[in-house]
Amino acid sequence: MKKQEKAKAYLFRYWQLYAMLIIPFLYFLLFKYVPLFGNVLAFRRYRPGMGPFGTEWVGLHYFQRFWGDPAFWRAFRNTLVLSLLNLVVNFPIPIVFAILLNEVRWLPFKKAVQTVSYMPRFISTVVVIAILGELLSPSTGIVNIIRMNVFGQKAIYFINEAKYFRWIYILVDTWQYTGWTAIIYLAAITAIPADLYEAATIDGATRIQQIFYVTIPSIMPTIMVMLILNVGRLLSLGFEKVLLLYTPDNSMVSDIIDTLVYRTGLANQNYSYATAIGLFSGIIGVILVSSSNFLSRKITGEGVY
């Protein structure tokens, strides 16, 4: 009987919380878990008007199809190359930026640089690409005007040429996220105890030596965690940015898995086929995240998640 009373008291105290929870929870299941289970479409044939889960089982049919599809392998290679290149370039830049910003002694200037450098994170990718399009335009863009008038070179239609696509993507990423990502490293630097620097100064270390012997070793754990996070997210490129930069002329390097899914799925309405490709890359993503998290537990003693 006591147990029952306890349960009664528990419900009496908490029923309102359950009442609050129920609608958001169902909402969450509808918009997050129904699509998640919607992935079964990768194994089923889709018929219009017969529901989002398809009509009959076809096994691995769609997987076999994309496995033999050169367009898939091209997209897969492009995704890997672009992600790795982006990681190599854009992982160290915020670290260097944060360390250098920390060396600025003139505080109002430091604050101004911080404020300005976070800003691009809040500007729409559409706007960023539109500005880029104007700056790089072959007829009126400032880059080509300088090339033509100062260096006497011919104008280049940068946005449309395949060989510039990867660098454009990566530099836009640098522009958008350097300041924002640096916040995390700046916070780690601020947390370094001041007496470490005082001790180094007494030992005669210059500012540069202090960076190499105090600052960098102190923020190493943060750097490692961020590296693991980034490796885990390796396949999730900025889909919208790629889509906005995509032109038929640069498609041989700019067609990534996400744009392939978008094209085959929404433009050509091969829903099951596109779902299979999306599911495949999603599973690789999960494997990457969990293995990098596992490594993090092994190396640093704590997981990120």
Binding site: M20, L21, T201
Partner: protein, 289 residues
């Protein structure tokens, strides 16, 4: 203080300030240049005379976009999506996060696991699209307002914040006979200004900047301004480049720049005031994914 006067230190300081000034320039010049183009005469644009300062100052481009009904409609749509999308999102997330911030409540652990799992493994583009079209939301404004209300990252941020409110306050209120609805509205929410501002701003920026969901779910009368801009860029840039250095392309450029300026200005103006909240948010987010 010998080390401050040492030569390598001085050179290093010069390097530091050079990098910072470079950063400022690289970030600001594209934006200033757009503002200058939007205020310049087409003659100056054609002759490539405009860089950072408007030449032949004119408000023609703004006059044109403000008399162009599609622009106004798109801008209004964006304000609508941003306002109601953020309101719905905050409402749902507050009622979701508050119970989940009570570890004593049975079942919260399981729900939290479901939330975290869905951050790593999700439905992907096609299953989401099919769900929304099967719910009959396609071509309605609900397709933008409803599906994105719960963002797991923001939700965890809110839960962590609610958890940091001292439990004594809650216990005292319960002894006084206040129920949980009262605790939420009278204790928790008034103390959560910073967290709600952070989450609200992230959400508002998401809705303000979104164009892709508009592209796949909406019809053109419902397009937000960012999609409108994207269509100007893809549509008129062809005309502009094909027409070469003509008057038409110059007008297209100043109009494009005017749309860029008007659609970005609200964010640029607001954001320095909200910076401290944003920064707080990224710190909490850095710990939890």
């Amino acid at each position: 203080m010998k080390s401050y006067r040492d030569r390598s230190t001085i050179l290093f300081q010069i390097l530091v300030y050079t990098v910072m000034i470079f950063t400022l320039m690289v970030t600001l010049i594209p934006l200033i240049s757009m503002a200058a183009l939007s205020l310049s005469s087409s003659k100056a644009i054609v002759n490539n005379e405009v860089f950072l300062w408007p030449k032949g100052l004119t408000f023609e481009a703004y006059r044109q976009i403000f008399t162009y009904p599609n622009f106004f409609r798109a801008y209004g749509n964006t304000i609508f999506y941003t306002f109601f999308g953020t309101a719905i999102s905050l409402l749902v997330m507050i009622f979701f996060a508050f119970p989940l911030s009570k570890p004593a409540l049975k079942g919260t652990k399981f729900v939290l696991k479901l939330v975290v799992f869905s951050m790593f493994f999700s439905g992907g583009l096609i299953p989401n699209y099919l769900l929304i079209s099967n719910l009959g939301l396609t071509n309605t404004r609900w397709a933008i307002l409803l599906p994105f209300a719960i963002n797991q990252f923001n939700l965890i941020l809110l839960i962590n914040f609610f958890k940091s409110i001292p439990i004594d306050l809650e216990e005292a209120a319960i002894i006084d006979g206040v129920n949980y609805a009262g605790i939420l509205t009278r204790i928790v929410l008034p103390l959560s200004g910073a967290a709600l501002a952070t989450v609200g701003l992230y959400t508002a920026v998401f809705f303000w900047n979104d164009w892709f969901n508009g592209l796949i779910y909406l019809k053109s009368s419902q397009f937000p301004v960012m999609l409108f801009l994207r269509n100007i860029v893809t549509g008129t840039s062809m005309v502009g480049e094909a027409a070469g250095v003509g008057d038409k392309s110059a007008i297209a450029i100043s109009i494009k720049s005017a749309v860029i300026v008007t659609s970005t200005l609200p964010i640029i103006l607001l954001y320095p005031f909200l910076q401290r909240y944003f920064v707080k948010g990224v710190m909490i987010g850095a710990v939890k994914g």
